[in-house]
Symmetry: none
Subunit: 420 residues, 2 copies
């Protein structure tokens, strides 16, 4: 078994600690490193402060084989990554002619003059190897000692991406022998994490030691991530597929897809494959289900349209809900949800009509129908299904969970008919 | 001057180190902590591993006054934050009756049964104070020793937000004396960052040294954040208000609100104040504008409803767009957008009708109407306004930017009539 390569990612920048920017570099770097079979041990973000930077860099070097630092390479005096690394590697900073030539060429290509600050960026610690940056003015640095590698990159996400993909991935692969890591994610909907864990407990405890399982829940969906470690990618893939084949029968009512597949994409593919169309009548969800469905490119092939009869009078006037229904049962009722689903189906001539009606909150509830009381319905021309959701006091959460409830009802119905 | 309060944010989760999710918690927490006058020293992310977690928690406690930990609180065996903290504080884990009552109540309100795993979540280290979580099953924990505070929260961003704002901000403020920092944010829409910077350049350079300005752009909106430092809150407020009074005349076409006021809330308040109502016809935005408007509690007072005639035939059949218009100009045209706005206004009997029609992408464009060609329109009963947006190749971005374009058109029109 090859020794694991351990990496720490260190980000430098006050703006990250102030919460002014979202740190996307760290996700991108982790994703690429993970796919190379490198284990990311830790992310650290520190401000532009000499002592904190020194401490973080030294600790990262001690704990890892590979350290990737982003940020702190600008031309202004608050940018300290270069002098801190020079000190740490006991190295003078001097003009690097190759770096100067590259930054000159970049400025010429943009029709701009090089100023003194830009020239400073071509000064590098003598101990490092320069990493070219064809899309920005700060070159990267590659230091090696004791079998370890420390890389410094600018903080601009686009520059990080170009330099990593073009220069660093091949260079890191040449330097380290990496083990194989294989990830696969099963996506589920309609089942809470705790119930899912009960359903698959025996399977989970019988997993081989080189396959790890993680539960990743979010707003009515839970992702199950399998991570396998070993030497041979083909073999790992086969092992993971074998485990997936064992677990799927236990969770087939909930498992809708893999990896980055979204529920609305999977539904779109099923509808398209079977030449079915849908229409919605959204009351309490106010357009959010339609939004989720139409975020999928090509959704116009099966999504006919929606009516959002937010004010009750339009449930009658536009959607043709019977006044008796509204009068007798109210707009938030199983009967109204049924009629909404059936009538929008008819109005748009769709194969399937879907509806939501409820009290999203935070006010508007009663003893009989508290905030979070929501009816959803689906008419597929053969039968009308309904479900009562009893959700929270939070408006945003209720809208989110209801949209997932409606999509789950649709997906279940498509799969129950063996349409998959 | 009061001693600075130093905070470290520790995130736990393999999924972050694998690059599978973007760590939004850390930005959100840093932003809130910063606004409380707390200095965030460091962000650390580590995996679900006992030794690494122990090391990180101990180091964070040593280096800071306040440690906030997110993640690792699920009910499954890979979730280790609770036992690691219990060990660190030399504390037994036992059933917390208050926590059990809360998780029971949550399940009952959702009409679900509690299982054994959920009950486990009500077990807490005896040494900690429970932090209620009204939107999820894992309560938070508050530990204190040696004048320091260590807080553990779940990893779900929505739960972090609710618990921080409702429970922790007041509790942290009560525990620590923080220096006075006064933030105020001016929110703008309809103007790019670079143009905004030009408009306010002279003002920006004349700001006193204790007031800092930051530009925070996001999806068609730019927030200008003023941060003032000092000893006296009243005085800082007065200074900031003076500066705001100086800058507002320069940007009055764009400045719609302050701090957390969302454009859709400001619009809602204006509509309500002047007893106006709106209806929409959304084609390329697929329900997203309606969703934004109905995320505002109480929006049913002015939002009548929407038609989403996604398939072109329903632009005619349901919304009554003239077949000649569709035939002669196409669905993506100024003429069609105008009719959509006028017809939805009439259909819902609303004061104002709004419409969007365009090519969201990534495919479906032509030489004449490339992807990103989008027409928006508004009919207020006196005139019909239109605007052509020429946006990007990215579907999601086009939907976002169009929704903001429509809301900006509505807001401008309400303010131009001196309705504010």
């Amino acid at each position: 078994m090859i020794k694991e390569v351990i990496c720490t990612v260190v980000c430098v920048g006050d703006e990250i600690l102030y919460g002014q920017i979202l740190n996307t570099n760290v996700q991108y770097l982790s994703d690429v490193l993970g796919s190379m079979g490198i284990k990311v041990l830790k992310h650290i973000t520190i401000g532009d402060e000499w002592d904190e930077m020194t401490k973080a860099f030294i600790q990262a070097e001690a704990e890892s084989d590979l350290v990737i630092i982003t940020g702190g390479l600008g031309p202004t005096p608050d940018d300290l990554t270069k002098p801190v690394l020079a000190k740490m590697f006991d190295s003078e900073i001097s003009l690097n002619p190759l770096a100067l030539a590259e930054v000159k060429a970049l400025f010429e290509s943009r029709g701009r003059e090089l100023n003194e600050l830009n020239k400073l960026q071509a000064h590098l610690p003598e101990r490092c190897e320069m990493i070219s940056n064809r899309v920005g003015t700060a070159p990267g640095m590659w230091f090696e000692r004791g079998g370890k590698v420390i890389i410094s990159l600018p903080g601009v996400p686009f520059e990080v991406k170009v330099m990593l993909e073009e220069k660093l991935v091949p260079k890191i692969k040449a330097k380290f022998k990496t083990p194989v890591i294989y990830h696969k994610m099963i996506r589920t909907v309609g089942v809470p994490e705790s119930k899912l864990a009960e359903l698959i407990r025996d399977w989970e405890f019988s997993l081989p030691p080189n396959i790890k399982l993680a539960y990743l829940p979010n707003l009515g969906q839970v992702r199950l991530r399998l991570t396998a470690f070993g030497d041979d990618k083909k073999q790992l893939e086969a092992e993971v597929e074998k485990e997936i084949a064992r677990v799927l029968p236990l969770i087939q009512k909930y498992a809708f897809g893999y990896d980055k597949e979204e529920l609305e994409q999977v539904i779109g593919n099923l509808l398209r494959k079977h030449n079915l169309s849908i229409a919605l009548a959204e009351s309490c969800t106010g357009g959010f289900i339609s939004h989720r469905l139409t975020m999928v490119a090509g959704s116009s092939a099966y999504f006919m349209g929606s009516i959002i009869p937010y004010h009750n009078e339009f449930k009658d006037k536009i959607l043709g809900i019977k006044p008796e229904t509204l009068h007798k049962f109210g707009a938030v009722s199983e009967e109204c949800a049924k009629e909404m689903a059936s009538n929008t189906r008819a109005l748009f001539g769709a194969s399937i009509g879907l509806a939501s009606t409820g009290i999203a909150g935070p006010t508007g509830g009663s003893d009989e129908k508290p905030v979070g009381t929501i009816w959803i319905a689906m008419d597929d021309g053969k039968e009308v299904k309904t479900r009562l959701l009893q959700l929270t006091k939070d408006r945003s959460l209720n809208i989110q969970l209801t949209s997932t409830g409606v999509l789950y009802m649709l997906w279940r119905s498509l799969t129950e008919k063996n349409l998959v």
